[in-house]
Symmetry: C2
Subunit: 190 residues, 2 copies
Amino acid sequence: MKLKDPKKTELIYAATLRLVKQHGLTALNMAAIGKEAKLGMGTLYVYFKSKEELINSLFKHLKQLNTARIYSSVKPNAPFKVNVKELYDNYIFNRVNFYEEHFFIEHCSGSHFLDKEARKLDESAFTGVFELLNRGKSELLVKEIDNALLIAHMMGSANELVNFCMQQKIKINKSFLDKTFSLCWDSIKK
Amino acid sequence: MKLKDPKKTELIYAATLRLVKQHGLTALNMAAIGKEAKLGMGTLYVYFKSKEELINSLFKHLKQLNTARIYSSVKPNAPFKVNVKELYDNYIFNRVNFYEEHFFIEHCSGSHFLDKEARKLDESAFTGVFELLNRGKSELLVKEIDNALLIAHMMGSANELVNFCMQQKIKINKSFLDKTFSLCWDSIKK
DNA sequence: AATATAAGCGAATAATTATTCCATAATTGA
DNA sequence: TCAATTATGGAATAATTATTCGCTTATATT
């Protein structure tokens, strides 16, 4: 008997991401995915039982990938500010280099497609930053403002900066990261 | 002859906003809008020639409303920091009190529905802030960073803070606005 | 009050898009 | 090599949803 080809799943995922980036989630349809992935319509239904399952499956896959990527290079023993900068750079870098993925994630979050499991996954990604900020407060380096607000502030800023750069086709380099990090650091430092 | 009822347009707009907030833009359809607005399907097409036109029309309407609301109370002669705070408060207040509207706007922005005119309108909303920041720089109060980046930073922060509060059902009061404004001000001040 | 004109409605139709089905091809295991 | 099984592709079908149509109703104008 013939076995499923694991590469086909990736092909379908990649095609979906490209299409959503180009035409938005609202315009996404199975025929287009098939064409973009160079697969027959029927093949899509071998790998996913419905459009909804395809979207949920891809969403969960991306969430897991991204959480892992952000924290990977942070060294616990480094000075506080160094760690914050490392995390900041990772976060921005990640968002730029996997822009399609984040675009997809954001548009799914406000759609009716996601099931409960996917929505739960969406929340738990920031425990690492939480702990880092607590350390900053104990070292008297960070303002005494609720961590959730500090995170929302920094994340919101970073997301919007990346979106702006992508729209304007501005390349993000070290100077950009240093400049915009100064905005973030000055805002949270005591 | 019978004249169009301007209230019907508002009814349709309001129904659309409720539906998009509840089920997302992807699930929006004309039958649902008719039902929610308590109007017949055909009536929708008296007021709008297509679903696309409805969405674009509502988008432009909201953009104009919001631009006006944000700048309305700003007094040109006040000190720079006072103006920035006024704008900040207005912006947050606006986003909280017209959450449905902003939810709709954001989801449209990433969809394939918007025409060129609507997309242009989307950009021009920040000329007022642009000029204010130039004033801040000339008074040596603001860092020498590209205005577009400063705006993306502040707007991103504000948007995410509001989203967070709405999700957690946190009420926004004066103390919240003062606390979070300190984040923004400290980040851009020289 | 009569008339003309357009609003208002929702069933019927058209268009789009998800899903299934079937013929064919490929691959595993015997 | 030969079944047996399942993937593959795309045409056919089903389901959903946008749009039109023909009728009724309301109301501005005379």
